[in-house]
Symmetry: D2
Subunit: 354 residues, 4 copies
């Protein structure tokens, strides 16, 4: 039985990625599309400015677009939201209140204590706390920010084995696709140039890992942040001339035990998330790959590993200031956005939550 | 009286930059060019593959190229070396032994205790210790690595005012011009891509600032490194799709006094090096500029400030792990290479050393 | 006596370029700035999002911005319009009707038979027909489209010497700066990509050269197009990942006399426009440069020749279908836009028209 | 029964592409790899600098590399040559003389009258003339130049339906991957730049289509060029900042019948080559796709259509000088190089020639 899926914000860049991934995935059946009033009542193929490297799927192209109102999505087992944050708040609330399950790429509810913030290959166990959720409402889950997603997977593997990370410093070099395409990042900003600033991105990167790697109060179903003084994060985020794939230069310090480099690499290579163990269809063979070549990972060469669900790490070295430093790379529109949403839905099915 | 100048490695990319800067500068007269045996005896314009954005200067074009042997450079007040490191060691030694003053962009002698490593707007006072050098030999001075140059200027300003920096973490995003053009960085490496590795660059960046910001033992004329445990540096260096201009994401911690952000910005804005005080012709009006806009500095917009001799800083923020973080940018082929050589020679003249 | 100048559309990218060029040019005094109602009454420096590679000039920064109404510009000898075409039509008409001289970068009046369409190094003699213009009105002059400007200069040189060109086929590879920066060309369109289409650009390129290279009916002051069947132009225009500098692959056929390649190159090298002869300050030393290297011109290396006023040609070869083919390059924001406006004003002064 | 395949020049960029395509294709079994003496006797994975976006296939990685001598390739049904042209001439001759079938990407034999020059979706019928070849020797087939491949497919479709094309003018914008990666195209050449010249490329583009679209003298097995005065081609080739995908701006004139635009588009859409008819595994569903959007085809969005075997056309318009103009795009390392080799081998099998 395929999971019946809807997509909100279907004409935007995140929405288009959801649709592509859903159409390629036999676990899902795309049944409803939502966009702005302007597009409603028309065929998707007639209103979308399709900008993907694969053609628009024929089935989606013929679907009628609806306004983003719960009444049009009652047949959906899950609705993926690629809405802009200026409208996502109200719309997602209305959907959840009408009992519709929502997996959202918008930032609005990421810090909400009752809403899990999930990177499926990092903290899938947070979803277990939804099993007993208030059945009068839909489930509401947030996908992390794109720059967060790639970082927390290797951190989670280390945390499981060697205990808490106490400090992290990170400088990211982020791809332009994260900003969409209309207009997205201006070419004047990244040709022969880079921009050492992405609005509010550093705040997200300093906040979200503390929730994703944090505990859950099972009694109240509250998702807790690691206190700031137990996990200090300093982030600088920059935009570079790369289409897809966020690269991060990361330094970390362990709170207690400092493993050896060999232990870290072995831990990453052996790491398996529930996605792999539960044999989710989109789960990568390896959630983390460690590359031995001295000049890897590189976005163009490594972003598609595991169909974009694998985080590629490399260059693990001693750090003069903290314990270790390394480079990690993840696909910002797959693991960092739409792809995580799909894999979360697969986890929900595997866990019999939907 | 113009300074009579020679250039070694004249056909390479650093050599070409030396020649352009010398021809535009009335303080200098270019009198001798050295290159490999293959080019010797021929007119410079006939052997060089000129790849600059300004045409080859007519006067240089007609100069005869010599082999890099001291005998051809005896009329030079100073010789600028743009030689590759595989040949720079022996050739520069022969020049200095024959009494010729050499300012070198090669890495070979940067760690030599009797050779000053100078960024002219950071540690010009190191040159004073050459005033009494062994007159049987030429003066030998090294220009810093391109990624070092932009960092040490704002650090020096802070060190002067607030005492030592004890920790620095830096991730650079470096321009391709640093690697020259034949072949330099392959386009396959930086189109829709970046390379998070530059061979041996991190070692230089972790070593050179400790000498440039270090003391001199005046009795022996020895240039000392700040001990590693007093100034810990952790560097990650990456190559990005930018033609000119190295950007760095920097975090620092002060050893003793932690100034306020306002004090730091004021210090940078008020900083004046000897280059400005001695009115060196190539000296920038400001050795450091601090930009208030949240998304600056950017390489394409800011690298040419002060004709490429100014370091642009911005984004000063509190750092969760160390004290502060900021972004700085410098022009890698001006302050980071040939330009520094020119300004060092102007300093030598102003100080009556040559 | 400096020419008193105003700039309309001052906050846009063309307006910013006008301001930079005016401030660097002692022939002009910038006295008035016009922008949208939203900005009026405020200091220019407070309303502009300055995106040039040189800092905003201090004097302009302090000027108060006005609405684009003639009443605020009566002190101007000439007003440069960088307005968008959706508003340029009415505003420029109002200015001219109030006796203000307007030199416009907008497309609105380019095909108007009484308005000269001028590339200053190609058809400056068209301006002579303004000497006796209706004094109750201001002079109105249009700058050509950016892709036209670079083509007509080498064509004019040939036409003067060898008679009419009857056929031209051209494919352009145009820089992104032509589209401005907010948003301009999206980075998703030109990273690892090009777009073989620029809206309505081909129409301009097939129409404008026929007016610029055409005759003037002196009795009526009417600017005539060369009939389409006497000068057939086929254009394909594309957008590529270049910041500044439009490159064109051009094939031409002469109507009558087919000169030799040597004659063409000599003609280009000897060509002098009235700009040079009248010693206009911004006039390049050479309106056309022919490069002998087989791989030139290239935008990054050659666009700044003559401060962006020189057209660089190269690769003249026999053409299997027409007579000859060659590559030409021009700076789209200098000769192709604001710079031409400045040089036209200098011509008007030199010709005692203003 | 899989086709037993060998690859010459296995460590180069073309060789790597052959290996990737062969490993993904169950029709083939890769059994032998040839490279320079320096690599011989070692495991492929140990000697290759793998630079593909997919990991090196495990099976290939373990194969022992041999010198390029026929003795090591006797078990191969076909050998694909990715050799550089400076060595391809002698080596391929030795292979063919030893009875080994060679499909070569090198240029050396492309103009040889007994060697077919084949773009599999354009002139597969040329292969029929090999059925009766001298059995004492191997078959020798050349793949066309990468810039030729994309052009001749739409031309062939038109030629079949409307008779000969008499004139073609083309300006290409070619991707950097065509030049390989060590060093390939320098980043200094294509960042904020393009190079309007590719050595000897225009000659190939003016010559090869006349052979591919030409006749075969069945009695002698001679592959004939269309005489130059019956098919005039004028080409300008440029290098732009695109990783994969050659774009061409094309104008054509028909010798006799000028079809309507609708007829041309219909012809392209209905075109089927023998590859499709014979159900070759790598054959695209459509050898030609015509895109209705005004700004397509674009390399990043359209190069992977049909796994890189489809030619994308768009922008068909009337041409002022010739009959029509259009834009076409093809994947230079698939249809334009290694992929064509694979598809040619599949055709040989389907035709029972091997």
């Amino acid at each position: 039985m395929a999971i019946k899926a809807g997509v909100l914000g279907a004409t935007g860049s995140v929405g288009q990625r959801f649709i592509l991934l859903l159409e390629e995935n036999p676990e899902f059946e795309l049944v409803a599309l939502g966009a702005s009033k302007r597009s409603s009542g028309r065929a998707y193929g007639d209103v979308v400015a399709w900008k993907q490297t694969k053609p628009i799927p024929a089935q989606s192209s013929g679907l009628t677009v609806h306004e983003c109102s719960a009444v049009h999505f009652t047949s959906c087992d899950v609705v993926f939201s690629g809405l802009d944050s200026d409208v996502a708040g109200d719309i997602e609330e209305e959907f959840v209140n009408h009992g519709i399950n929502v997996i959202s790429n918008a930032k609005n509810y990421r810090q909400h204590p009752q809403v899990p913030l999930v990177v499926p290959t990092a903290n899938p166990e947070h979803l277990d706390h939804l099993a007993n959720h208030d059945k009068s409402k839909g489930i509401h889950i947030c996908i992390s920010n794109c720059s967060t997603a790639g970082l927390v997977v290797p951190l989670k593997a280390l945390q499981e084995k060697f205990g808490p990370i106490s400090h992290m410093m990170v400088t990211t070099m982020q791809a332009v696709s994260g900003a969409g395409f209309s207009p997205g990042v201006s070419s004047m900003d990244v040709l022969d140039n880079l921009v050492p600033y992405i609005g509010s991105e550093e705040d997200k990167l300093e906040m979200e890992p503390r929730k994703i790697l944090g505990d859950v109060d099972a009694s109240t179903g509250t998702f807790l942040h690691i206190p700031q003084d137990e996990f200090k994060i300093s982030a600088t985020t920059t935009r570079v001339a790369v289409i897809d794939g966020h690269t991060a230069s990361v330094s970390i310090k362990f709170a207690k035990n400092k493993p050896s480099k060999e232990e870290i690499i072995a831990t990453w290579r052996e790491y398996q998330s529930q996605c792999e163990l539960l044999k989710c269809k989109s789960a990568p063979e390896h959630a983390i790959v460690y590359l031995d070549q001295p000049d890897r990972p590189q976005p163009r060469l490594d972003r598609d590993t595991g169909n974009g669900y694998t985080v590629s790490c490399g260059r693990l070295r001693d750090d003069e200031v903290l314990d270790y430093k390394f480079v990690c790379l993840s696909h910002n529109t797959v693991l960092g956005a739409a792809g995580s949403g799909i894999l979360i839905a697969e986890l929900l099915k595997a866990k019999n939550i939907i």
